[in-house]
């Protein structure tokens, strides 16, 4: 947990703990040394008090003067250790061992027998056993001093009794530890603010670097770099230098990305322009052929009407395509019908004849068609023209329009060089703009994606010879086209 704290807290806390630990150890050692010294001091003090009471109490014992003995004991007892805690007391006993007076009369009742009785857990000897000064020790460490008081003719006038309870011998931890605690408090008062300042001074540049690193990805690197701290410490200089280099590289990368984006935007504009031109150019080629036909067979009303209808639908396709490229435009779309498939075949036939390609078609329509006609006409025309180009002279192209209740499919295969699915995906998603052939495929791919359909290259194993390349396009059937639906790039 300590390691999770910031340095500005760790350092003063560590200093405080070190000081506290030192104070604790010093107090423990001092307590042991002092306890032994205190015991000796207590013994010495009590012996002196007993000696003094023996001298001054002699006339009082001789006169049986309880009051004077009491006043003497009351004063002398204050010299005994821990007297203020009630842990020590003194008394003068008469020759029979009864209290003449005690410093604490309530626990040393005047006139009551003291010697030969149990006093505070200590069995005191009988008067005849106290011929010399002696001590009585209890199990809890408390002590009783007894000293006979004799007259000039060596008669026993009485006894001095001093009692010290175990409490007086117990180390006074507060007194023992007070110097260390005061020293510790003073040390902490100085060290904690110093440690705080040191910790903050030490971590300030690190925190600033951390804030700069956190800003990477969010703020502009050019705005972040000036916020890096100027440090003199070699280690911090290395960190700051590394972050600065990182910011420089990021700055350069962002500039390159912006340039690439600009180029990409220009390329996208170019692709759209090329696509528009390509999409318009395809029907235009067919329409030109129709005009030639119209010129040659204008006198035949049936042929003329058919050509005019073809021209109208072709122009309508161009109009729809250009309008559809405007995202804001709302186009009234109709469903595909078999006539559209015929139109596409008609438009592609001149190109096939030009390239000496045999064009055949089939249809398997098992459900009502309901798919955007313009889009599908564009897809079918694109795929047919691409297949014709791919098939080359004397090649063959086959187109099949099929539909069931769930989807509408257009399958176009040719005898040209095989186009793998991977190559198709590469061309369909190419953004380089260096593959003009890919524009049509790209348009097909985008339409498939936009209408939740499929567009892929069929494996050669699944094709009937002599066809080697087959492109399969499908979109859901019986579903109205929503011209406002977003186009996925």
């Amino acid at each position: 947990m300590l390691r999770r704290l910031p340095y500005r807290i760790q350092i003063p806390l560590g200093l405080a703990l070190a000081v506290a630990l030192s104070a604790f150890l010093v107090s423990v050692v001092t307590a042991h040394l002092t306890a032994a010294r205190v015991h000796a001091d207590i013994m010495s003090t009590v012996e002196r008090v007993v000696a003094m009471l023996g001298e001054q109490g002699r006339p009082l014992l001789a006169q049986d003067d309880t009051w004077q003995a009491y006043t003497l004991l009351r004063s002398a007892a204050t010299l005994l250790p821990a007297h203020h805690l009630g842990a020590s007391r003194a008394a003068l006993l008469d020759a029979h061992g009864r209290y003449l007076a005690g410093s604490e009369p309530k626990i040393q009742p005047t006139g009551e027998q003291a010697l030969g009785t149990l006093s505070h857990g200590r069995l005191l000897p009988t008067p005849s056993d106290v011929t010399q000064p002696r001590t009585v020790t209890a199990q809890d460490g408390s002590l009783s001093w007894l000293q006979p008081v004799r007259s000039d003719d060596d008669e026993v006038l009485g006894f001095v009794l001093a009692e010290v309870d175990a409490l007086a011998f117990a180390p006074n931890w507060w007194t023992l530890s007070r110097p260390a605690l005061i020293g510790m408090a003073l040390s902490l008062a100085v060290l904690v603010p110093i440690g705080w300042r040191l910790g903050r001074r030490m971590t300030q540049p690190i925190a600033q670097i951390a804030r700069c690193i956190a800003a990477i990805g969010g703020d502009d690197p050019r705005a972040v770099r000036p916020r890096l701290p100027r440090v003199s410490d070699p280690e911090l200089q290395r960190i700051t230098g590394a972050v600065d280099r990182l910011l420089l590289e990021l700055q350069a990368r962002q500039a390159a990305a912006q340039r690439a984006l600009a180029v990409e935007r220009l390329a996208a504009v170019g692709r759209i322009t090329a696509a528009v031109a390509h999409e318009i150019n395809n029907p235009l080629a067919g329409l030109i052929t129709v005009t030639q036909t119209l010129r040659l067979h204008s006198e035949d009303p049936t042929q003329r009407g058919r050509c005019i209808d073809l021209l109208e639908r072709g122009l309508q396709q161009i109009r729809t395509m250009t309008t559809a490229l405007l995202p804001q435009a709302r186009v009234e779309e109709r469903c595909l019908n078999e006539q559209d498939f015929d139109d596409v075949l008609t438009l592609a036939t001149p190109q096939a004849e030009q390239h000496q390609v045999e064009l055949s078609s089939t249809r398997e329509l098992n459900a009502r068609l309901c798919a955007p006609a313009t889009v599908l006409r564009q897809v079918m025309l694109n795929l047919l023209l691409n297949a014709i180009k791919a098939a080359g002279p004397n090649g063959r192209v086959s187109a099949c329009l099929s539909a069931d209740t769930s989807k509408l499919c257009f399958f176009c295969c040719n005898t040209g060089q095989h186009l793998s699915n991977q190559a198709l995906a590469s061309r369909a998603t190419s953004t380089a703009g260096d593959d003009p052939q890919g524009f049509g495929l790209w348009i097909c791919h985008e339409i498939a994606v936009r209408f939740n359909g499929q567009f892929y290259s069929v494996s050669p194993d699944e094709l009937s010879p002599p066809f080697v390349t087959g492109l399969f396009f499908s979109i859901p059937n019986q579903r109205r086209h929503d011209p406002q639906a977003p186009v996925t790039d």
Binding site: T66, W67, T110
Partner: protein
């Protein structure tokens, strides 16, 4: 007092009446405030100057006090058997003589007490009882009441369990043969003390209300009691 008497007045305090009497009889004192009992003992050698008025009367009572606790077993003189009794002074009426008379009346002798001792003063009697040194004490009622009035702890830690009949208040006396003029001026100053503010302040401090003219008859009851207790003494 010096201004009133016209003679330098010095107050001297001693622990015991014996010490005071020794100074008086050795002509080291001109006058003394002693107990009625030593006055009756040495009436032939003493001249009665005046008797203080306590609460307006020249009489007082002796008290028997205990530690003041309701659970104290000492409720009267009879209960003192096997107990420790503190006396004030061997020449004190309230602090010794009355106690001897009452103990005798209770059928108790000196040996029936566990211990009896003199505390050298009435105030010390109260302290001895309060501290537990003695179970009971014989004290001058005027001194005990004055101690309580002055807020002394020893008085508040003790309680009165017996009050004596009224006795003549401890008088001011002089040695026979002392200067008549001096004693007359002293008597006049004492009797007139309550008439001025300074004197009244002194009386208030002493818890007295004034001084009365000498009346030896006041102390007859003490003398009678002394004769009863110690026939040979008076």
């Amino acid at each position: 007092m010096t201004a009133r008497v016209g003679y330098p007045v010095v107050f001297v305090a001693r622990e015991t009446y014996r010490s005071v009497l020794d100074l008086l009889f050795s002509d080291q004192l001109d006058a003394a405030w002693i107990c009625g009992y030593p006055y009756t003992l040495y009436r032939s050698r003493l001249n009665l100057i005046s008797t203080p008025l306590y609460r307006g009367r020249p009489v007082y009572q002796a008290y028997l006090i205990n530690n003041g606790r309701p659970e104290s077993p000492i409720r009267g003189w009879v209960d003192l058997k096997g107990r420790v009794l503190a006396y004030a002074d061997p020449l004190s009426n309230s602090g010794w003589l009355v106690a001897q008379s009452q103990l005798r009346s209770a059928g108790l002798g000196a040996r029936d007490l566990r211990r009896g001792f003199f505390a050298r003063g009435h105030r010390n009697v109260a302290e001895a009882v309060a501290s537990g040194l003695a179970h009971a004490g014989c004290i001058d009622g005027y001194v005990w009441e004055t101690m309580r009035r002055q807020g002394m702890a020893a008085a508040h830690q003790t309680g009165v369990i017996w009050r004596s009949p009224w006795y003549g208040f401890p008088p001011l006396v002089s040695r026979l043969g002392a200067s008549d003029g001096l004693i007359a001026r002293l008597t006049e100053a004492l009797l007139g003390m309550h008439r001025d503010d300074q004197g009244q302040a002194l009386l208030d401090a002493l818890n007295l209300s004034g001084f009365a003219a000498p009346n030896p008859a006041l102390y007859e009851s003490i003398a009678a009691m002394a004769r009863a207790v110690q026939p040979a003494s008076v």
